[in-house]
Amino acid sequence: MSTRPLVWLPACVLLVAVAAALSVMLGARTVSPGDALAALVHGEDGSLARAAVRQRVPRTGLALLVGAALGTAGAVMQGLTRNPLADPGILGVNAGAALAVVCGIAYLGISTPGQYVWLAVAGAGAAAALVYVIGSRGRGGATPVKLALVGTMVTAALSSLVSAVLLPRLDVVNTFRFWQIGGVGGASADGILQVLPLLAAGFVLSLASARGLNALALGDDLAAGLGERVARTRLSAAAGAVLLCGAATAAAGPIGFVGLVVPHTVRLLTGPDNRWVLPLSALTGAALVTLADVTGRLVARPGDMEVGIVTAVIGAPVFIAVARQQKVREL
């Protein structure tokens, strides 16, 4: 294990802390660091500044968790599919979760995040399996371009089904409209507690498979030769990634491109060792989503712009830059 990444660990932790502090302080009403600290330590005293801070705490917490989940899930998916363009948004996983949630709201009368988080995970898993199975057919297995195309098409098809379920129920449309774009504005402490167990399980499974993913990077045969149980590693890593995306999507709606951008940035800093890439992706992802949320709040003051839009604006150029690299073809 090289020691170079050790430098980046505190840097990433610092970045997360700065992002969280900014997220608590900035918004429609700017709060000074002293007031923010006082509000966090002593609670509300009736002043608007402290009330604003208390409002922003769950939001910040959700942004941090969702970002960490998506960053890790993206890194795992890229390792698992040996595909630099893998991302929960591109691969249709978010759309699968969205369809499952909408069906739950419309047909099963489900309304609390605690209930639909399971549906979201199931939908995410089904969509991921579908895209991977279709994408790995044909010559050359699951090439980046095939997976990206199949993911895009499956997303389009699933989105049509979402519209088909929603249209007869105009009362659901408006709630869903904001959820669909991806936002952390509606966060509450209860909602966070309900997705927390799933996220924790997802993190444990993902981080535990880091060493296995390093072996898989050499190819299945070589990994098996090195004594890695390939099928088991794949299964546990995939389960971890699906849990993370599904829970994150249930809590904050489909947020795209975080899982794509973050691992690539981290790999530039630390090299390809997944034992470093996964935890640092979690930290960087948390910082990215939180900063995107802050940016959205500042750009569209006094309202806010949904995180999903900000991350797409940041993430799409990175996707294009990765796609332009010659090596994409060879993978």
């Binding site: 371009v145 195309l149 519209s163 249209l167």
Partner: protein, 344 residues
């Protein structure tokens, strides 16, 4: 070559030509049937004779308004948009030699859609000015995708991936603009997210037809060079095709058609993508794929609109139906492409 083998070759050639002609004729008849059915069927059902009299300009009490003002523009818009989507989709698929490289996948529809939404929601425009913004925007997006892809030649795979990225970016712009729009415009929002004929009236048909008809004519005439380009650049050059010029003309027309249709109906999901492969299956890949694909596109949109309007309790926009139909077709095509070891 012996006389018998000459006869054999000639017979095969004739059979292929006949098959393509039969398919084109069949699709035309199907389209005409769908056209008349769409005019007759609705809340009030009129006999085909009345509907045709309205189309020919006679005044029929009741039918003149329902058929002439409401249904005819809707059907015309659907047919024209479907024709344009099918034609543009087949052009891209043939040119890039990749079934999945249709304009709705590679981000060109998203460009036109984003521009149209901007023109309507932010600038408050309608009718022809929307086209004047959407078409250049579609062309600009296509140019950006092309330039981003260009690196010692344009590689199909890279073009597709860059297109997906640009499309994702533009779709988030559409979402943002729609979220800022007043809430009453759910119908309008659906139009721009999945495509709908719900807001098709006479004032949109004229500009759409003036754009689509000449571009389609050019594209269908240039179809011959497309068949040559299918063989690869070198062979096409050897056959006397001006490779650069014909490709430019083909791409410009296809992007123009996509933008015009998208600016009117929104990006109707999967029509551009499915028409080409379906037409290919029907004709067995004989001759230029463009006209069959265009007819298939128009028939697909009219069928989906009939289903969306009348098959369920709720009226669904056409794009929702094509999207739901598209999913199984996509699976089937991909499964088949493995068996035939098709490119991709």
């Amino acid at each position: 070559m012996s006389p018998s083998s000459v006869a054999l070759v000639r017979r095969g050639r004739l059979r292929r030509i006949r098959r393509r002609r039969t398919v084109v004729a069949g699709l035309t008849v199907l389209l005409a049937v769908l056209f008349v059915t769409s005019l007759c069927v609705g809340h009030t059902v009129y006999p085909p004779y009345d509907a045709l009299r309205v189309v020919l300009g006679d005044t029929v009490p009741g039918a003149s308004f329902t058929v002439g003002r409401l249904r005819l523009p809707r059907v015309l818009t659907g047919a024209l948009a479907g024709f344009a989507f099918g034609l543009a989709g087949a052009t891209f698929q043939t040119l890039l030699r990749n079934m999945l490289a249709s304009p709705d996948v590679i981000g060109i529809s998203s460009g036109a859609s984003a521009a149209a939404v901007f023109a309507i929601v932010v600038l408050g425009l309608g009718g022809t000015p929307v086209f004047l913004i959407a078409v250049p925007a579609g062309l600009a997006v296509a140019l950006v995708i092309y330039l981003l892809t260009y690196r010692q030649g344009v590689l199909g795979v890279r073009l597709v991936l860059v297109g997906i990225g640009v499309g994702a970016l533009l779709n988030s712009v559409v979402s943002y603009l729609l979220l800022r729009a007043p809430a009453w415009e759910v119908q309008e929002a659906m139009r721009w997210l999945t495509g709908s004929l719900g807001s098709a009236f006479w004032d949109g048909v004229g500009p759409l037809a003036t754009g689509v008809l000449p571009l389609s004519a050019v594209l269908l005439l240039a179809g011959r060079s497309l068949t040559a380009l299918q063989l690869g650049d070198d062979s096409a050059r050897a056959l006397g095709t001006r490779v650069g010029t014909s490709r430019l003309v083909l791409v410009l027309c296809a992007v123009g058609l996509t933008s015009l249709a998208t600016a009117t109906t929104g990006p109707i999901a999967f029509v551009a993508f499915l028409s080409g492969p379906v037409a290919h299956r029907l004709t067995g890949g004989n001759g230029s794929p463009l006209l069959p694909a265009a007819l298939t596109g128009a028939a697909l949109v009219l069928t989906a609109d009939l289903i969306g309007q009348f098959a369920f309790d709720t009226r669904f926009p056409v794009g929702v139906v094509t999207g739901a139909l598209g999913a199984p077709c996509l699976l089937w095509l991909l499964v088949r492409s493995r068996r035939t070891q098709g490119a991709l």
